[in-house]
């Protein structure tokens, strides 16, 4: 952990009075913990910004006697997670905004504001993002805290008669190309977009609050409901976090099966996107082709997991049941063969189409430099040419022992995002093949897992690479059988928030193409 030591060395002389502590990474999933105060928070943020740290997540935990803002940072080049905490007075929680340094914090801070009632000084637009006007309290606070009246006015920040030449239009929640119930308020000037502002919460189910009222085991099916196309990967993120928290060992065989099934799920998710993206551009036929292939994966996964969409296959310490050596491996091998042929066909059907190329090439260009500000991840960041993949950066399951390449793009336009995903399907096929080859025999789950989990006091952050990017779970345990606080860092959230930047001043058709290229999943954003 060269970077962590280096950071400590550089940090100490600059901030003499601030506590910085090294944390056992294996246990807690981050390297350094910094306790900031309102006065020096911005300096610390600046310190991290200068060293190219990107913001993973920003959220709040209510410890009753104080509120704690948690900022997670890391770098794209080397894994060095830093947790910066800031304690706030629960009666009058006010914190400085960091949105001028890290743009994505604009939305994270709005989220914290409506769920905890924390005010951010200097925030450009501290309005509600998820909730609607009927909510009279701050839902994630442990005690009932009523929303003051003046806050309820913050619900609608769109003023239609402001300017003469522009008008507001709602794109969503009931719109064919927002893939579910995303709402984007567009300010338009004819065909051009002046600005676009996502409004969330139309599929908000408050999974984070649900977690606080359920035992660890009971929460197990929930993650699959957040990211339904890539359910297994969310399942894995949660299971691994709890395993790390409780120190449960997982047998090798389970790790390999997790890897194989996760990659199958990743392909299924990418295929769903492959169908939806051309449909956003007006071509409806690829949708059926992609679903045809996806159906094969669902059949395979149904055999092992018992469900077709919202899988809940992984258990603490292993799996729900073992795979059937013959049928599963046979079917998977047949699928790999078929999929390779189909990829060639997709190349002819979609990639080579002149209209398709003209519609997405050089549109929605996302620069590499933006990655730090927005913290986007997954295929979106890889399309900018940065080989950032949690499977490589922070290997989990059996990814550490399987060699695979990370496909990257060049300029980060829609075409690159398309090509990266197509390439990823290929890479996933290779991983599955490799995994099947090496699949060890042995038990598929640990015997010693207690029925009622009571993890030791502490917190943990665990991240996996879901189909859309870095998916992290942060759990605070207070030794009871329910999590004290569970936070989900979802990749679509930070991916989507680059949309206002990319949509400014472009034609509505290009904006729709860009929106489609993110592969957003709204239930995941809303949680």
């Amino acid at each position: 952990m060269a970077l962590a030591t280096k950071i400590i060395e550089e940090f100490k002389p600059e901030f003499k009075s601030v506590d910085i502590a090294e944390v056992p990474y294996e246990k807690q999933g981050y390297h350094l913990a910094i306790e900031a105060r309102t006065g020096n928070l911005l300096n610390i943020i600046d310190f991290l910004d200068r060293r190219d740290f990107y913001i993973i997540d920003l959220f709040c935990v209510d410890y009753q006697e104080y509120l704690e803002l948690v900022y997670f940072f890391s770098t794209h080049r080397e894994l060095c997670r830093i947790k910066v905490t800031l304690k706030l007075d629960p009666e009058k929680p006010v914190a400085p905004t960091i949105s001028n340094v890290y743009t994505i914090a604009r939305w994270y801070e709005r989220e914290i504001h409506e769920f905890f009632g924390v005010y951010f000084e200097g925030h450009p637009n501290l309005t509600y993002l998820f909730l609607h006007e009927e909510i009279g309290h701050y839902p994630l606070r442990k005690k009932h805290v009523a929303v003051p009246d003046h806050d309820k006015k913050l619900l609608n920040s769109f003023k239609p008669h402001e300017e003469e030449n522009s008008f507001f239009i709602n794109l969503g929640p009931q719109h064919p190309s927002t893939h579910g119930v995303l709402r984007v308020v567009l300010k338009m000037d004819g065909e051009y977009l002046v600005s676009a502002e996502p409004v969330l919460g139309y599929l908000h189910r408050m999974h984070e609050k649900m977690a606080e009222n359920r035992s660890y085991m009971q929460f197990l099916p929930n993650p699959a409901r957040m990211d339904y196309p890539g359910a297994l990967l969310f399942n894995l993120a949660y299971v691994e976090a709890v395993e790390k928290l409780c120190g449960i060992e997982v047998p090798e065989r389970a790790k390999y099966i997790r890897t194989i099934t996760c990659e199958l799920n990743r392909i299924a998710s990418h295929l769903l996107w492959l169908g939806a993206f051309p449909a956003d551009l007006g071509a409806l036929t690829p949708f059926m082709y992609a679903f045809d292939d996806r159906e094969n994966i669902l059949d395979i996964l149904e055999d092992v997991t018992g469900s077709r969409l919202t899988y809940c296959y992984f258990r603490f310490g292993g799996l729900y049941n073992d795979i059937n050596e013959e049928t599963f491996i046979d079917a998977t091998k047949r699928f790999i063969e078929r999929m390779r042929e189909r990829l060639v066909m997709y190349d002819k059907l979609i990639t080579g189409n002149v209209i398709f190329i003209n519609r997405i090439k050089n549109i929605g260009i996302l620069e590499q430099g933006q990655a730090k500000k927005y913290g986007f991840s997954g295929p979106v960041i890889r399309s900018t040419g940065m080989p950032f993949d949690m499977r490589k950066v922070d290997p989990y399951a059996a990814y550490g022992s399987i060699d695979f390449e990370i496909p990257t793009g060049h300029i980060g336009d829609n075409m690159d995002r398309y090509l990266v995903r197509m390439k990823e399907i290929e890479v996933s096929l290779n991983i599955i093949e490799e995994g099947i080859k090496r699949l060890p025999s042995g038990p598929f789950k640990t015997e010693k897992v207690p029925k009622k989990l009571k993890p030791p006091k502490g917190d943990i952050y665990n991240a996996v690479e879901s189909t859309r990017g870095e998916t992290g779970v942060y759990i605070v345990s207070d030794e009871s059988d329910t999590p004290y606080r569970m936070r989900w860092r979802v990749p679509s959230y930070s991916n989507l928030m680059t949309f206002p930047h990319l949509a400014r001043g472009v034609l509505i058709a290009d904006a729709i193409a860009t929106l489609g290229s993110y592969d957003i999943v709204v239930p995941e954003i809303d949680r």
């Binding site: 007006g282 409806l284 059926m288 045809d292 189409n353 519609r359 034609l507 058709a509 729709i512 489609g516």
Partner: protein
């Protein structure tokens, strides 16, 4: 004096019979076409997408369109509160006028034609611009921003593609020296004009895809951008009139293409009317094929494709035609 009156009565009487028979014939074509085409579209789409398409109602799902039209009759006629009522009600009616009038001059066979007006093609061109007018008032009257954008797009698109459409028909008129569709069809007794004018045929076909608002040029109703474009606020029977007009328009542009470029009703062995329908539906099939294969173009690409490529090329084609005719 008496003679004149008898003359008028004679002529009018003959014309009335002709009109009534013509109307019945045209209605059979319009309704039969719409019913067949909705079924064909779904069936073709199904097979292109590796599914079966409609199959439950009747043999091969053939009665599906009947079931659908009955359903549409029973659908509620919603009129949103804020619409500009006269315009909103007028649009679906107005869109049907050009559709039906065009049929007057289309020669289904040497004699199967309601009336061979000697300025036939001008009638078609003049009335077809009414379509865009009705889209505009429908979109504007709906008080819906999506409809408005769709309507404005539609106008820009239609005027952009009207010029290549005109310019691609001109070489044919240069060669046939007549505006009458029957004369033009007759002039192709030996060789079809598509042999002399392949470029004009391509330009005409591309422009007519745009004029009928079909994919890849379906921007006025681009569902991934504008929900349903200009007919977002229309439901039930009013919506199906737009729908009906679209399908009839597909037939009409294909029929005009057949008359101008593919020899009209000319063909060996089979009667002319059969040839006419075979050729027309072959072109209609190509339109369907486009729809289920291509993504949609972007709006600037659409306009610029017309102004930068189609129009200059059709100018060149026109000059070359004019030159060759003089040799």
């Amino acid at each position: 004096m008496c003679d004149t009156i008898i003359n008028i009565v004679n002529i009018v009487g003959k014309e009335v019979v002709r009109t009534v028979v013509g109307l019945i014939g045209v209605f059979i074509v319009v309704l039969g076409n719409a019913i067949m085409l909705t079924w064909t579209e779904r069936k073709v789409a199904g097979h292109i997408q590796r599914r079966i398409g409609p199959k439950e109602v009747g043999p091969f799902g053939l009665l599906q369109s009947f079931a659908d039209s009955v359903k549409l009759l029973g659908k509620e006629l919603l009129t949103p509160a804020n619409v500009e009522k006269p315009l909103y009600y007028l649009a679906p009616t107005l869109i049907f006028v050009p559709v039906l009038v065009t049929f007057v001059v289309i020669p289904f066979d040497g004699f199967l034609q309601v009336k061979d007006i000697n300025t036939g093609i001008l009638v078609i061109l003049a009335f077809s611009s009414l379509t865009v007018l009705s889209i505009l008032i429908g979109g504007w009257g709906s008080d819906n921003k999506y409809s408005l954008i769709g309507a404005v797009r539609s106008v820009a698109q239609n005027i952009a593609y009207e010029i290549p459409l005109l310019l691609s028909l001109l070489p044919i008129i240069f060669m046939a020296n007549s505006f009458s569709l029957r004369d033009i069809a007759e002039a192709q007794r030996g060789v079809w004009f598509v042999v002399y004018q392949p470029i004009a045929f391509l330009i005409f076909f591309v422009a007519s895809v745009a004029e009928t608002n079909r994919t890849p040029f379906d921007l006025p109703e681009a569902e991934s951008e504008l929900v349903a474009g200009f007919h977002t606020e229309y439901s039930g029977m009013r919506f199906s009139l737009f729908f009906l007009a679209e399908y009839t328009n597909m037939f009409i542009v294909s029929a005009i293409a057949v008359t101008f470029f593919l020899g009209g009703y000319q063909g060996p062995v089979l009667p002319g009317v059969v040839w006419f329908f075979i050729k027309t539906y072959a072109l209609v099939f190509v339109l369907l094929w486009f729809r289920w294969t291509f993504p949609r173009v972007r709006f600037d690409q659409l306009l610029n494709f017309s102004w930068k490529i189609l129009i200059p090329v059709s100018f060149l084609n026109l000059l070359v035609t004019g030159g060759i005719l003089k040799i």
